[in-house]
């Protein structure tokens, strides 16, 4: 095993007794300090994979190693080194915030003055001081998520597993959580494996991404490289009037036949970097006396990537 790899998943399969083949022989590694995402619609096998990593589900075949420990045979060591936040913020509804964090600190074997130190640290890290004596059901969804993270982090785990961490949160809380996860990665060097069906989340947060469909990984790379597989950026020009045949020929000569696409009062030009090339391309078009009404840079999205590899739009499935 490469020492930089915190997670190694080999030929992992999960077949439920009901006959559902949820995970079909997937392989991936996660490097230390990386945020690794699993993108796919509901039912793709993301949660099943994460639950097997977190020792919550038995593995049908294959293996998962976390920090060198086999999840099936060294489950106790695995549990001591991971933090796991489930899809729903699963919290003790009969506790206050402080009681819950204290309980989790004790669960990980801390005793004496260290308990209070760690509780205070967790309250500060997740900005929960003002809620410390509140009962958990009284908290908002976003605060419950933060608390869920707080109790998952009390023991400074080497790996944080997050199953759809922002599902059910409003956009503002979602962005807050993204900042927090980035902070955890940058300040604490924590490795994160997360699932999501939000493309923006995957794009903004993940260093690498596995696209999952029907229990199989169909593509895996950085979000940027995955998007590159779709093709170039495109600059769209909206026109006052349709292009003449002469103008189309001139554009093809200038930008290349394959980079040009025309449709009534629109045309697009393929470029490597849309934002960088926009001004120069616009100058050329103006010099060609084409009257431009507006422009737009179109970049390949992860949904385009998903469409390419699965034939389906993730937006339609989620």
């Amino acid at each position: 095993m490469n020492e930089d790899n915190i997670v190694v998943v080999k030929d992992l399969e999960k077949k439920y007794k009901s006959g559902t083949h949820a995970v079909k022989g997937i392989n991936f590694d996660v490097k230390k300090g990386e945020i690794f995402g699993m993108l796919g619609p509901n039912g793709a096998g993301k949660t099943t994979t994460l639950q097997m990593m977190g020792t919550l589900l038995n593995i049908t075949s294959g293996e998962i190693k976390i920090i060198g420990y086999d999840v099936a045979s060294d489950s106790n060591q695995v549990r001591e080194n991971i933090g796991f936040a489930l899809q729903e913020a699963g919290l003790d509804s009969l506790s206050t915030v402080r009681e819950l964090i204290t309980f989790h600190v004790k669960l990980f074997g801390f005793r004496g003055s260290e308990i209070e130190e760690r509780v205070e640290k967790s309250l500060s890290l997740l900005d929960l001081h003002q809620y410390s004596d509140q009962m958990i059901p009284e908290l908002s969804g976003g605060t419950q998520r933060r608390l869920d993270l707080a109790v998952s982090l009390v023991h400074d785990p080497k790996l944080l597993i997050l199953d759809e961490p922002t599902t059910g949160l409003d956009p503002a809380h979602r962005v807050d959580l993204w900042s927090l996860l980035k902070k955890l990665k940058n300040d604490k060097g924590i490795t994160i494996v997360m699932s999501t069906h939000y493309m923006e989340e995957a794009d903004v947060l993940c260093d690498r991404l596995a696209i999952i469909d029907s229990g199989e990984i169909v593509a895996m790379d950085t979000p940027q490289k995955l998007k590159k597989t779709i093709g170039k950026d495109r600059i769209e020009f909206k026109l006052f009037e349709s292009l003449s045949e002469e103008q189309i020929t001139a554009l093809k000569d200038k930008f290349g036949k394959d980079n040009l696409s025309t449709k009534e009062s629109f045309f697009t030009v393929g470029v490597d970097d849309g934002e960088e090339a926009l001004l120069d391309t616009l100058k050329i078009i103006i010099q060609m006396e084409i009257k431009v009404k507006g422009t737009k840079v179109l970049r390949p999205s992860l949904d385009d990537v998903y469409l390419k590899y699965t034939g389906k739009r993730l937006e339609d499935l989620s």
Partner: protein, 266 residues
């Protein structure tokens, strides 16, 4: 599996009860009310000719029945806190920590056993105080403190071992409070179809034949023997049969419970 983990969970479970006052009240108040109503309603049963327990006031005769009923009531409610954890997803969250499956289940049974034992001591205290009110004498049963401890251990072991295991299995299977509570009448009927309220010779013939198949009957005989007669030879025979019965039934219900729980993670 570390003992310190189980202990941490056990203490947390005990602290949970203060936030579940309805569970505590329901499993305690109902048997007390039944004790007070039945002991007054059927007071004259002691005077029925042929009653082998005619020497004892009826409220003393039914005290063991109320103890067993408290054990069963309390054990059916033992899934309440567990269901809260199962339905909020917190049980699974804990499973990804050192509090994996086995420590959580063991700690849950330990805390339920503690709670139930306290409730049983309380109901025994009520019966002693009621006896004082009626007779004017404050006295312990024949078997003394040791006898009371034996009664509590027997009843709590039956409650948690047999009833508790079944309701916990049901809780894992259904995750529904209603489904778990629905089994209560079964145990309630089982207690009624025994000598809990009426001595065997006064029962109809068919019931006299049927009570030998009722496990709760053996427990009632042992508890009644200790409570009314002390540790006599015949009481010790009843205790031996009751303990054997608890061991066999707990083994069966634990196996059912184990299979149900392990299936839930497969």
């Amino acid at each position: 599996m570390k003992f310190s983990t189980i202990l941490t969970l056990y203490v947390r479970n005990l602290k949970q009860y203060k936030r579940l006052p309805a569970v505590l009240a329901f499993s305690f108040i109902v048997p007390v009310i039944q004790y007070l109503i039945f002991s007054n309603l059927f007071n004259s049963l002691s005077d029925v000719p042929g009653n082998p327990y005619g020497d004892y006031p009826y409220y003393m005769y039914i005290t063991p029945a109320i103890i067993i009923l408290t054990a069963i009531f309390g054990s059916v409610n033992s899934s309440a806190a567990l269901l809260v954890d199962l339905n909020t997803g917190y049980f699974d969250k804990l499973r990804a920590t050192p509090a994996s499956l086995a420590p959580q289940v063991i700690a849950r049974f330990m805390s339920e056993f503690t709670r139930l034992s306290l409730q049983l001591f309380l109901i025994i205290t009520v019966s002693i105080l009621y006896h004082r009110r009626i007779s004017g004498v404050l006295e312990l049963p024949e078997a003394g403190i040791l006898g009371l401890i034996a009664i509590v251990l027997l009843a709590a072991s039956f409650g948690i071992g047999v009833v508790g295991n079944l309701v916990v299995a049901l809780a894992f299977k259904t995750k529904s409070e209603q489904a778990v509570q629905a089994v209560f009448p079964l145990f309630f009927v089982a207690v009624f179809m025994s000598t809990a309220y009426v001595p065997d010779v006064l029962l109809p013939d068919w019931l006299q034949s049927a009570i030998v198949y009722n496990p709760s009957e053996y427990l009632i005989r042992a508890v009644r023997g200790i409570f009314l007669e002390g540790f006599t030879d015949s009481t010790m025979d009843s205790v031996t049969i009751a303990v054997s019965c608890i061991i066999v039934l707990t083994t069966i219900t634990s196996t059912i419970n184990y299979r149900t729980i392990t299936r839930s993670i497969d």
